[in-house]
Assembly symmetry: C2
């Protein structure tokens, strides 16, 4: 077994037989950990982003946090009830891509697919970056390593996913459920502390900024847009129905409801108490940076074990949230690849039954984002919601069409409400965040759609070009073999025999690099009595390759129908470093002949025992 | 012409025909610029290094600069008179490597060769780094870019050398001769200024440190060792006799004498006036760093055009000095490669008639040194003299043996004196600089000698293993061809014809990755009526490669004498990016089959027009 294979076994595990495919399915309580960690973990950053927007105008506006959070909770319920229909209608997995393609056509489908792909990459980047900030809040000495920690976490999650989904589910349940318990504990304790007459310290600066009505509305919309990042994980469950244990749809819907209930409660609870405790979001570059959740936990629990546990659980669920994207991005890209809009390689399951290429691609893209944005989730959040809400809208529009066809008018109303709401929210998000980066999403979308189209065109062209027609037939070819011999030695004998076995028209080629060598091989060739002729090529510029390409070009000019095989004997030394002591003519020759049709370059190796 | 070829033409120039080899020779005045710039340029740093050692004890000891410089001048004359004999005895080029090998045996020869190779790399690093400091002295704002400037200069000199020697000679004469003129101008002007009653300012600190006699002797030896860096360029002329116009020996000796006279005068002159003008060498990290030469030029010429010209000429000759090594390192390594101690590739002249691989190797090694030592020549100087003086000693010991055999006793005495002196100096340098880095040279020497031995052993083994004996004969082989077909399309037809042309035992292999595809190809294969059978291989772990390697292993087990050719049809798309849309099975398959004898993997390409 090669070093690569051994390393792969250690990191990724043994191959899994295709017949086990069915068993790599998740029971709903594990699926909650895998598919809902994204949505649930947004509690750790979405309230903070709402408050950040408000406090930038003035700390006084922080009292708007709760109403905005309730608005987002309502939006969540609308979206979830719409997705409830989707999962029922698509028990085999109904991501936006599939739903929009089937009901609205290919182009809306591709737009939905592309915006989801962008969304998943951003999910990984935002979640991991926020998770790292939870650690930094608790342990400020780690602050200089924000980027390194982020990259390391992405690599870790990627690797776990290469191992396969079932193991991930079991592994990821503990931190997800710990997070849920700890956050409910935090909310309850905060309620107890308030009821015991706790009075929050006043806000650091409490100016009396007075905004006009329009500016106030814009501020609220802006804050609302930031908070919409909380909804980005909802799609994941509908997209991943296939990974649930049967009955898939029922289990998926159960998970969806549990997730929505948990998320709403935690989101509104944290927002309420963050506002009640007069917590102000900090600048990431502040010396003693702490997230809003960390500040609240510190105020409620004090600097003890519970505070540390909240931080660790937050960090873990955020890093696991990235896992949601790792469960779904590869699946979605394999759907899209099946339809010919992405490279086929994304549709091949590896020996661990996972779409390994998609996992690797997602890891690389999100690592680039984390490095590019220096590990600051704040800068990524404006991009985040924009992409996801486009696919929400399209998916629900597709459901409206489908449910109308099916004659199910009540569910259709839910979907129509969802579609309308998310369409309005999409417009709000793009409008209010345009200059802060939402335009990047539109540009990226356009590029991805162009790539989709280019790939599809190539595959269409291929199947047109390569499909057999009744007039096609196999035409016998005239084979010519040219054997390269720098000098006659034992290693070449085998290649001579190989060349002779191929065809009758064999010639040996020798390029004169020094005259002594040429005299020697002429003599040896005669003495040894090889059955085919030796052709000597001059090389006035001491190049090995040009005389050969010239000779081949001339031969092809004389008879364009022949097929020329160039055989290059190649020594295979025992140790890799010995390879440095041999010229490797075949590589250069292959490059030089790359554009010539009817030429095949073959290495015949001889082993130095 | 490919992009690579076009770029190479622009940077390096058109190929030069072998018949022009003789014309790439230098007249002596150009050769002085190419081969003596190393030695001459040492005036720019060797006095400074002597003074640096002395001033570290106390500025009062700077009065020892002149006597030490005179000592080094005397040493230079002894070494030069010894090399005079060498050039006469070896008109075809007598570097230490050749002289020591012929007269003392292979091992002393290799030691001399290895220490010279080290010396050349250090020459490039020290000269370029010092040249950069000349620029920094003049233009302090360039100081943050010391490493970048050094690396750029090495790349430039390397590129000029890839163009070929003659052009370099013409190009490099102007700065060399400018430097000589300007330094003589500086010395004469300094003499005039002194005679007009100039009184130097007193030394900044003039303590009265009193060293014991032993410590004083050690200080002098230490300073002397640093100054020995001045002699490192002498070998270059003897090593490069072949590059001189005929009569080679006469021209080389003329260059040697002119060089020695110029070097001695400039060295002693600069040392004398640096001492006379109370110049103190500065720490490289000092805020307003200036080299000793820069300080002297500033004191004599004032801050005007002449000062700037001295700095520029110094920088240029130092950067050109690196060129000496570029002229000789590739030649020496080609000698060593001819003897089988270095990879053969170092002995192949490129299409510009230069040893391109040696030039590239030298560039890389010296760039690594410059980056590693952060562009500070001071740190490299202790390493510098140690390597070179080992080869001096061995070369002259070889000459003693040779001249005694020839019965030339008077020249022999010169060589014996040179040998003895340089041996003593070698011991002094290594002893006094051991802890400052001379030990690195000894370690590097040991490693290089081990590499030499390993390479020689491999080549010996090769020629033993591969040489033909009377019992060797070409044994006909039984050829089997396996053609990989993922599906039957137009591109495969050509490969089918190719496979059929090769042998009668052809089988097509299809690996089942999805069942639909397999049913399709079975049907197509029958419908199309291909002459040879289609074998279907199951792949329970969805790998393309493993079922094929298993099949081949089984076939080889059944008949180990057959030669199996695996043909992989490969699509060649019009644009490179389209290549990303195709699986490239051949690469993976070649890797997987790399260790199996009797297997050849061949790509048969089909072009997508």
């Amino acid at each position: 077994m090669s070093l690569y294979s051994r390393l792969k076994r250690i990191l990724v595990g043994k191959p899994i037989h295709t017949k086990h495919a069915h068993h790599e399915r998740l029971p709903w309580y594990f699926a909650l950990a895998v598919f809902a960690s994204d949505a649930l973990s947004s509690v750790a950053y979405a309230p903070e982003e709402i408050m950040r927007v408000l406090s930038r105008a003035d700390n006084g506006f922080l009292s708007l946090t709760l109403p905005i959070s309730i608005g987002i909770g309502a939006l969540l319920l609308i979206v979830v009830s719409s997705y409830f229909q989707t999962i029922r209608a698509y028990p085999k997995g109904g991501g936006s891509y599939r739903v929009a393609t089937e009901n609205l056509g290919s182009i809306p489908g591709r737009i939905a697919g592309a915006s989801l792909l962008i969304g998943y990459v951003l999910t990984v980047a935002v979640s991991i970056a926020s998770g790292v900030l939870a650690i930094v809040s608790m342990a400020p000495m780690t602050k200089p390593y924000v980027i390194e920690m982020g990259v390391g976490a992405v690599a870790l999650v990627g690797l776990l996913n290469l191992r396969g989904a079932k193991e991930s589910g079991a592994l990821f349940s503990i931190p997800t459920y710990s997070f849920i318990l700890l956050l409910f504990g935090l909310i309850v304790s905060a309620a107890v502390k308030s009821s015991q007459g706790y009075v929050a310290p006043p806000y650091p600066t409490m100016g009396a900024v007075d905004l006009g009505q329009l500016a106030l509305i814009l501020l609220v919309l802006h804050a609302f847009s930031s908070g919409c990042a909380a909804l980005t994980g909802v799609e994941a469950i509908a997209d991943g129905v296939q990974a649930f244990q049967p009955p898939e749809a029922t289990n998926a819907n159960r998970t969806l409801i549990v997730m929505a209930a948990l998320l709403c409660t935690m989101f509104v609870g944290i927002s309420y108490f963050a506002q009640h405790f007069h917590i102000v979001p900090m600048n990431i570059h502040a010396e003693k940076f702490q997230t809003v959740t960390a500040q609240l936990a510190l105020a409620v629990f004090g600097n003890g074990a519970l505070y540390v546990m909240v931080q660790i659980a937050t960090a873990l669920i955020l890093i696991l949230a990235a896992n949601t994207a790792f469960a779904d991005f590869p699946r979605l890209s394999s759907f899209i690849a099946q339809d010919g809009f992405l490279p086929r390689q994304l549709n091949s399951q590896g020996d661990r039954l996972v779409f390994q290429n998609g996992i690797i691609l997602l890891s690389l893209l999100s690592i680039i984002l984390i490095i590019g944005f220096k590990g600051a989730p704040e800068a990524l959040v404006p991009l985040y919601a924009a992409g996801v809400f486009i696919s929400f809208t399209l998916s629900q529009a597709g459901m409206v069409v489908k449910l109308r066809k099916m004659g199910k008018y009540v569910p259709m109303l839910f979907s129509a409400l969802g579609c309308l709401t998310t369409f309005v929210v999409t417009c709000i998000v793009i409008e209010s965040k345009f200059s802060q980066g939402a335009w990047i999403i539109l540009v990226a979308l356009a590029i991805i759609l162009a790539v989709f189209a280019g790939i599809k065109r190539h595959y269409n062209y291929l199947s047109r070009e390569l499909s057999l027609s009744p007039v096609d037939q196999i035409e016998p070819i005239k084979a010519t073999v040219l054997l390269l011999v720098p000098r006659l030695h034992k290693g070449v004998l085998h290649a001579i025999a190989y060349a002779e076995s191929m065809t009758r028209d064999v010639r040996a080629l020798h390029v004169t690099l020094d005259i002594k060598g040429t005299e020697q091989i002429k003599k040896d060739w005669n003495d040894f009595g090889v059955d085919f002729p030796l052709v000597i090529l001059d090389s006035p510029y001491r190049s090995l390759i040009e005389p050969i390409t010239d000779y081949i070009d001339q031969a092809l000019e004389e008879d364009p129908d022949q097929m020329i095989t160039v055989i290059v004997p190649q020594a295979v030394p025992k140790h890799w470093w010995q390879g440095l002591l041999h010229n490797n003519a075949a590589v250069g020759l292959k490059l030089a002949l790359a554009s010539r049709k009817n030429v095949v370059v073959t290495n015949v190796r001889y082993f130095l025992a």
